[in-house]
């Protein structure tokens, strides 16, 4: 006869760590939270005004346009692509939108379209850039990095060429309104950014269309096999990215009261930094919108603290970079997972 040798398999070892594993997994994308807490404490020692509502509101408002670019980039990164041209859209889209409605004397094209169209036209311009990027990448099967790198130069070049390098400072009222309006005690820009983030969090967390970005970024072939229309979704993501970047440009323009020829230049690095320290992977398929938001907050708080502290300009970059490095290490140690 047969006798069983050992007691039935006790997968205890595995089951034991299931609970915490799961719970940790859920917060894996929020590993920057301890960093934010450290920054809030450090900031309150640097200057008493740091923790005031006024100052924190300022930080949020200052970061709102960048946050939108980070949102756009995070969507695109999660679907496994790249878009470097977003930063140029931040300048070009509002410039074109504004030039279509203001008179020649103020730097416009002379079309004098109704001022109410400025923002829609601006968003349209952003969407067109995204659509063109998507077209080149998907139809010609070119590398997204390099297409959007070239497009970053082209779109900024378009901005420079159209404005002749001059700033535009006669803005339609709609731009200025968004830049200065206060709704329920908070600047409009914060509300708009907050709502868009909330929409993105819900869409990427709870809707099939949003989840398909993760599938595509994780394994495009598998996503295709599962019936996801990979090309179409990616293309739509590029368009949305362009539109959101254009909206970032609107908010930034409204906040600053003018569009300089350099608007947006250099943002893309910060956007990548925020997204990636917030846990979005450059390889696609990984990371959350909420994580990206924590990345933006870290960057905003660091800048604010350095400003309040009055670090001398020539050492500021060193300090700034070092803090980012330390934040990375903290989030790595808190998150426990290797990055890639």
């Amino acid at each position: 006869m047969t006798t069983t040798q050992t007691p039935p398999p006790a997968p205890a070892a595995q089951a034991a760590s299931r609970g915490p594993g799961l719970r940790l997994g859920r917060f894996r994308d929020l590993t920057l939270v301890p960093v934010i807490v450290v920054l809030l404490i450090a900031g309150s020692f640097v200057d008493p005004i740091f923790l005031t509502t006024g100052n924190l509101t300022n930080v949020l408002q200052q970061q709102s346009a960048l946050a939108l670019v980070v949102l756009a980039e995070a969507l695109i990164l999660i679907s496994g692509k790249f878009d470097l041209s977003l930063e140029s859209t931040v300048g070009m889209a509002p410039a074109v939108g504004v030039m279509l409605v203001i008179p020649v004397a103020a730097g416009g094209f002379g079309l004098d379209l109704p001022a109410i169209l400025a923002i829609p036209l601006c968003l349209l311009a952003g969407g067109l850039v995204g659509a063109f990027n998507g077209f080149l990448i998907l139809r010609f099967q070119l590398s997204a990095f390099i297409v959007t790198l070239a497009m970053m130069i082209v779109v900024h070049g378009l901005h420079l060429g159209l404005t002749q390098g001059r700033s535009l400072f006669e803005l339609p009222a709609s731009f200025l309104y968004l830049g200065s309006a206060v709704w329920f005690g908070l600047p409009a820009a914060i509300w708009i950014t907050g709502v868009l983030f909330a929409v993105a969090v819900v869409a990427l967390g709870y809707f099939r269309a949003g989840r398909s970005l993760y599938a595509i970024g994780g394994n495009a072939d598998a996503a295709r096999a599962a019936g996801i229309r990979v090309e179409r979704v990616v293309w739509v993501v590029f368009v949305i990215g362009g539109v959101v970047a254009a909206l970032a440009g609107v908010l930034e323009t409204g906040r600053l009261g003018g569009i300089s020829a350099n608007q947006g230049v250099g943002w893309i690095f910060m956007a990548f930094a925020a997204a990636v320290i917030g846990g979005v992977s450059m390889d696609g398929g990984k990371g959350t919108i909420l994580g990206a938001l924590t990345g933006v907050l870290v960057i905003g708080l660091v800048e604010n603290i350095l400003t309040l502290k009055g670090v001398p300009g020539e050492w500021k970059q060193l300090v700034y970079g070092s803090i980012i490095l330390v934040a990375l290490m903290i989030s790595r140690l808190a998150g426990g997972k290797a990055q890639d």
């Binding site: 200052q62 390098g165 001059r166 906040r255 502290k309 300009g313």
Partner: protein, 333 residues
């Protein structure tokens, strides 16, 4: 101890708003960048001048040539209690909202080097960048006898100062020296681009006889290096000489003038920028007001739609006056 530069044209008097009690408030200052020789000199002069003027200066912030940072810094400075703000917005269009906000808060603003297109300023302290271009044009035009080819190494198109210099130089050449061909090279304030473009242009047109550089700090060394490689550093008497006019007035330019490597530079007064920016900031806090007209320091105050501008002198420095002790480039060590 320099004498108090209270202007002859500057009438002192209490403001109608009547906040004259705010004497001795803190002055906040934002530096535009830390990576250029000219601005570094300015940055170094500021604390020194503040001490001389007895100003309660807050720790300076630095906006790294980014107008968004400038806005954030301004918000922080006001949050920390600045009663007047000195800034040097390199993007003049995008500072309008900030100026409006500061105006509503009754915080006077002195801008240095650039003139905001929109938004109230108490005083703009700058030398006339158009005048730089014109001075360089006249110098080169005369030296070349109104004919030949010159290269203009421009700054960045997005910068108002670069554009002012370029337009003035180009316009003056067209008007006064139509026989001179101008090649514009957009260098983005980058030495490496300047070197490549100048080298290529000299290859294409070996008979180029003049160079106008928009920024000595970044353009001087590369230009000299390219000219040296082509054996074009020869005395002015030599027919092969290439006339070089620089802009900024840093000590290295003066050395180059003394050695005969370049011929002239426009001295953009870093010391006066710092001195008068702080002077006006202090005056603003004290509630003084100024009116257009000549001042006691060889400058003129002019009326702008959105404020006043004190146009400081920017002398052209050549071999004749290069050793003038009054030039700021001869004072830094």
């Amino acid at each position: 101890g320099s004498s108090e530069p209270a202007g002859t044209a500057a009438t002192t008097g209490a403001r109608p708003t009547g906040d004259a009690g705010a004497k001795g408030g803190k002055v906040g200052i934002d530096f535009p960048r830390a990576d250029s020789d000219f601005w570094n000199s300015y940055n170094k002069y500021v604390p020194q001048m503040a001490a001389e003027l007895g100003i309660d200066l807050m720790p300076p912030t630095n906006s790294q040539n980014d107008v968004a940072k400038l806005v954030a810094n301004t918000q922080a400075l006001t949050g920390q209690g600045a009663k007047a703000i000195v800034m040097a917005p390199q993007d003049t269009g995008a500072i309008a909202s900030t100026l409006q906000t500061l105006e509503t808060r009754n915080i006077p603003v002195v801008t240095v080097d650039t003139r905001p297109d929109k938004g109230k300023v108490y005083m703009v302290v700058r030398a006339d960048n158009k005048a730089y271009g014109t001075q360089a044009c006249e110098f080169l035009g005369e030296k070349l006898g109104g004919k030949g080819k010159v290269v203009q190494l421009m700054g960045a198109l997005g910068s108002i100062n670069g554009r002012d210099r370029a337009e003035a130089f180009r316009g003056c050449m067209k008007e006064k020296f139509p026989g001179i061909t101008v090649f514009d090279e957009p260098t983005e304030w980058e030495g490496t681009k300047a070197a490549s473009m100048l080298q290529t242009r000299l290859q294409q047109h070996p008979d180029i006889k003049g160079v106008y550089m928009h920024a000595g700090g970044v353009h001087l060394a590369p230009t000299l290096q390219v000219l040296k490689a082509k054996n074009l550093i020869v005395p002015p008497e030599d027919p092969g000489h290439v006339f070089v006019v620089s802009n900024d007035g840093i000590p290295q330019e003066f050395d180059a003038i003394r050695k005969g490597e370049i011929d002239a530079t426009v001295s953009q007064p870093a010391d006066l920028y710092a001195k008068y920016a702080l002077f006006y900031a202090k005056a603003a806090i004290e509630g003084k007001t100024f009116t257009p007209g000549p001042t006691d320091h060889d400058s003129t105050i002019i009326q702008l739609p959105n404020g006043l501008e004190d146009q400081l002198p920017a002398p052209l420095v050549t071999k004749e006056n290069v050793d003038d002790k009054a030039l700021w480039g001869n004072q830094v060590k």
